[in-house]
């Protein structure tokens, strides 16, 4: 973890701009950012809102592992990951992953790898709330 890497869980709205900017070192020129947000429709069913819950201390440890692993595998400078928790309205940002690197290609590859691994390993769960009920979404493992 470098001084510009960071990982956070927050119940406050996430500003993508500020995440993307926090990872910027003076010698880099490009940041790749993935942001996920609350979909209005999933498989044709309308979601009213979402609720995210985390096993917080373990989630932070797993996020830190991902950052370390990404920095070993890809030539990237800095990585920021912020995941929102609690109730989210449609269109709100649930997760932002920003990666800076001297060469764009590595930032794209690392960002894509990070979101895939985050969805596999970081203990956070999403509950979809519909007009007629609610469901805890289970991942693919």
């Amino acid at each position: 973890m470098s001084a510009l890497d960071f990982l956070e869980l927050t119940i406050e709205p996430i500003d993508i701009n500020s995440v993307a900017r926090r990872v910027v070192p003076p010698e880099c020129g490009a940041t790749v950012t993935l942001d996920g947000y609350v979909r209005q429709f999933t498989k044709g069913r309308e979601t009213l809102h979402l609720f995210y819950e985390a096993y917080e201390p373990m989630a932070l440890k797993e996020m830190e592992k991902l950052i370390k692993a990404a920095k070993e595998q890809f030539e990237v400078s800095n990585i920021g990951i912020v995941h929102r928790l609690g109730k989210l309205e449609i269109g709100e940002t649930s997760v932002v992953i920003s990666v800076t690197s001297p060469h764009r290609k590595a930032a794209f590859a690392a960002c894509e790898w990070l979101i895939r691994e985050l969805k596999r390993s970081v203990p956070i769960w999403k509950k979809e709330v519909y007009a007629d009920g609610e469901v805890w979404v289970e991942g693919e493992t």
């Binding site: 997760v95 203990p123 289970e138």
Partner: protein, 79 residues
């Protein structure tokens, strides 16, 4: 000796609990404790479960000590 078992999301809904404290004999393996809880809350078995010991993914072979923190949860769905 007391240990703590945490539930999240679907496993919390199924058990109706966020945390239970279990009294076990020293030296048990994690797998035995998880199996015992699944027997106690059979609806857990409906889900694809993941396990952790002290905030690390568990294989089940871990030997559980006084005060350890275990957790049972479903495949994660963040992002």
């Amino acid at each position: 000796m007391p240990i703590h078992v945490l539930f999240f999301g679907a496993t919390s809904t199924v058990t109706g609990k966020r945390q239970i404290d279990v009294d076990i004999t020293d030296g048990k393996r994690a797998r035995e404790i998880f199996d015992q809880l699944i027997a106690e809350y059979p609806l857990l078995a409906v889900h694809r479960l993941l396990f952790s010991v002290n905030q690390q993914y568990a294989t089940g072979k871990e030997i559980i000590r006084d005060g350890d923190e275990l957790a049972i949860f479903t495949a994660v769905s963040g992002g």
